[in-house]
Symmetry: none
Subunit: 139 residues, 4 copies
């Protein structure tokens, strides 16, 4: 069974992320996906980069497909390390830099969030605002 995040919850997480993006003055594209990495909702804020439409979606996909925050994938994917070449697999859907996070309930991943539109630090800050909102909702 695919555990999913309801659309109403997904848009709440996106709203929290958008609020943070507005606060740091960096328009973002924000995607919430289900536990199979398939889209629940995606918003492109006014002025956000076009490339981020694909990248935010694939960050959300990657967090589901490898059940991990995407920023943990960069180091093992470097030349000489164990997963070197990871970013070229899975039909080019994997993103190995930060901004994608699993969303868990009772230790199970039930969805993910992926954010793109700025430097990686900004992407992570905005995505974490969505994760924080998720944690408030599931407490």
């Amino acid at each position: 069974m695919v555990e999913s995040i309801p659309l109403a919850t997904a848009t709440e997480l996106i709203a929290a992320a958008e609020e943070k993006a507005t606060e740091i003055e960096n328009p973002m594209v924000i995607t919430v996906a289900n536990s199979e990495g398939n889209l629940v909702a995606q918003h492109r804020m006014d002025g956000a980069w076009l490339a981020s439409v694909s990248i935010s979606r694939n960050k959300a996909y990657t967090a589901a497909a490898l059940e991990t925050p995407t920023h943990e994938l960069a180091e093992p994917s470097e030349p000489g390390n164990s997963l070197y070449g990871l970013q070229n697999t899975d039909d080019g859907q994997l993103v190995i830099f930060g901004g994608g996070y699993p969303l868990e309930r009772d230790g199970e991943i039930v969805g993910t969030i992926g954010v793109s539109g700025g430097a990686v630090a900004q992407d992570r800050t905005v995505a974490e605002a969505g994760v924080d909102r998720w944690q408030e909702l599931t407490e």
Copy 2:
């Protein structure tokens, strides 16, 4: 510069479409795109088909890329008619059945809406609820 539909407007159109989809008890995936067919916002209602994630997005793309409602493409694309084979072009992005509509302002296409999730008649009904909302907003 892309004079696009702002995200706030896109989510209003999606809300109007969702309301109609709820009324007819048929969960849908709804996408609003800009005039170049690139995503502004996309929502997958709870229970909507997975295939509709791609189809609704490509209906929105098609309405922009050929500047036409997608239901007008079916007949000319039939075997024996002038555009037979159209559905196999443009990297498989063109959808030739109903549910994609241009959104115009002062005679210019400034965005599109694409809906998928039911029979084509249902898809069109839900998409037209979004188009109607657009027309109210631009009056």
Copy 3:
């Protein structure tokens, strides 16, 4: 050896096609390719459809790849006919409706032209203006 059309000639053919497109008031995308179907030059006239960027290029590709005008491919590709399914082959690059033409010199195909942006009859009229210019130049 790949026989090619020089860029200077390609832009002359495109100019002739653009003149015709302007005359019939239908903005078009026009591509000239070499005998391997690879691009020499492509112009998108102001207001031409986005989908035509891909379709005009693939009409030029198809005319080279099958050494035939594309309008001759529709009938054999219909259900029940010998090439049914052709439009799904070659990684989706083949276009089976009119608007792509080989350009010959001494009975050899040395390039192609592909036009998209209107009804098929319009596409063919505009492409043929390019073919006519080619014939004047090679006489």
Copy 4:
């Protein structure tokens, strides 16, 4: 509505770039795209590399999709840096070495130019001839 670079302007920029490419004796492929990264015009100079057809187009795409000159992407995309893996995202459309530049008017990106065909230094020199021409035209 896409406020794009008109075709007539695009071919002027390409002509300026071609003149520079001729001067440095390095045939190039030159693409001008609109602000969403979609093609306005593309020319392959006689003798230019086949791979450059795709690369020049994707440099133009990248400059639009990330709103940045492409040469600024190389360093952050190196192993160990924050965007390592960027070149594998967005369906392989992103080029992270030099030769793609945004074209701005009143601080807004209204199009881009992408050049490929030589060493990156040559690509940049030729692309910058197009950017210079753009700046003369918009003064």
